[in-house]
């Protein structure tokens, strides 16, 4: 694990880039997550609802952001984690999860970092943006 002794605002987490998003992944996530909303797996339903195609569950991207964090610190150090869904993640998108340290602070004697986190496609379009708070020791 990284040595956080000199962690400072602007430092970045090792990014996580996913393979191009497939319909198979959406089907697997539908089953594994329990989110059976047909809009993510049934193109007929998606078209009736006014979308050109199915699109990814927002929470699939949140799971990837969870991986970004747990690749960096043990999960027991994650204090808080939140996202806004700003754009739809589409089939074929190559998503990269990234994180940047916003501040290092102390809370009730615990040294913590606040991070800005996001997912974006290869064109740089941000799909999810949010923040996380992790304990540094």
């Amino acid at each position: 694990m990284a040595d956080f002794g000199d962690l400072k605002p602007g430092d970045t987490l090792p990014p996580l880039t996913l393979p191009p998003l497939t319909r198979t992944t959406l089907a697997l996530y539908c089953g594994a997550s329990g989110d059976h909303n047909p809009i993510h797996v049934d193109i007929d339903f998606a078209k009736k609802a006014g979308y050109p195609d199915v699109f990814a569950h927002g929470m699939l991207s949140v799971a990837w952001l969870g991986r970004l964090l747990t690749d960096w610190v043990p999960q027991r150090r994650i204090r808080e984690f939140g996202v806004r869904f700003t754009a739809l993640t589409q089939v074929g998108d190559v998503i990269t999860c990234s994180g940047t340290v916003i501040e290092v602070f102390e809370h009730q004697g615990e040294r913590r970092a606040r991070l800005a986190i996001q997912t974006a496609n290869a064109g740089g379009q941000v799909k999810l943006a949010g923040d996380a708070v992790v304990a540094l020791s």
Binding site: G34, K48, P74
Partner: protein, 147 residues
């Protein structure tokens, strides 16, 4: 418009078992390769009593409610019109395969933007384990597209 009288509505609490096989399936679906999330021995070596529930999976367990659409049904919302707007997790402790988690959901807020074209429903969920210990608070904001 969604009736604002639903603000404060508490849904019936429910309990969900954390199943190991389901955690492995979730790891597969999310491309998780860290052995801590799929291998019992690796989990134990990392100090876990069993496979840990990954950060966002609590939301999935919440969808294992007896009727995951209960809130939509009560508020009269069409699933084809909803989008997930925001999601937040505040963690108090980890949970693991074999735990039984209790979910207590309430409608924290309902508001609209763009003259009612978009309505927002904020649901807050308190999660505790079989020992009554706090696990997490989940805050979900659902967007309803009208018209």
């Amino acid at each position: 418009m969604i009736d604002r009288r639903h603000i404060g509505l508490q849904l019936p609490p429910f309990e969900v078992d954390v199943e190991k096989g389901r955690l492995r399936f979730f790891a597969k679906a999310t491309g998780q390769t860290d052995p801590v999330y799929v291998d019992d021995e690796a989990a134990r070596a990392a100090g876990h009593p069993g496979l840990p529930v990954p950060p966002s999976f609590l939301f999935c367990l919440e969808m294992d409610a007896p009727n995951p659409g209960e809130l939509r049904d009560r508020l009269g919302i069409d699933i084809a019109r909803v989008l997930h707007g925001e999601q937040r997790f505040v963690f108090h402790g980890l949970s693991h395969a074999g735990d039984r988690l209790r979910f207590e959901q309430r409608v924290a807020d309902i508001y609209d933007k763009k003259g009612g074209a978009l309505e927002f429903v904020v649901r807050e969920t308190r999660v505790t384990n079989q020992r009554g210990e706090p696990v997490a608070d989940l805050i979900a904001t659902t967007v309803v597209r009208n018209g």
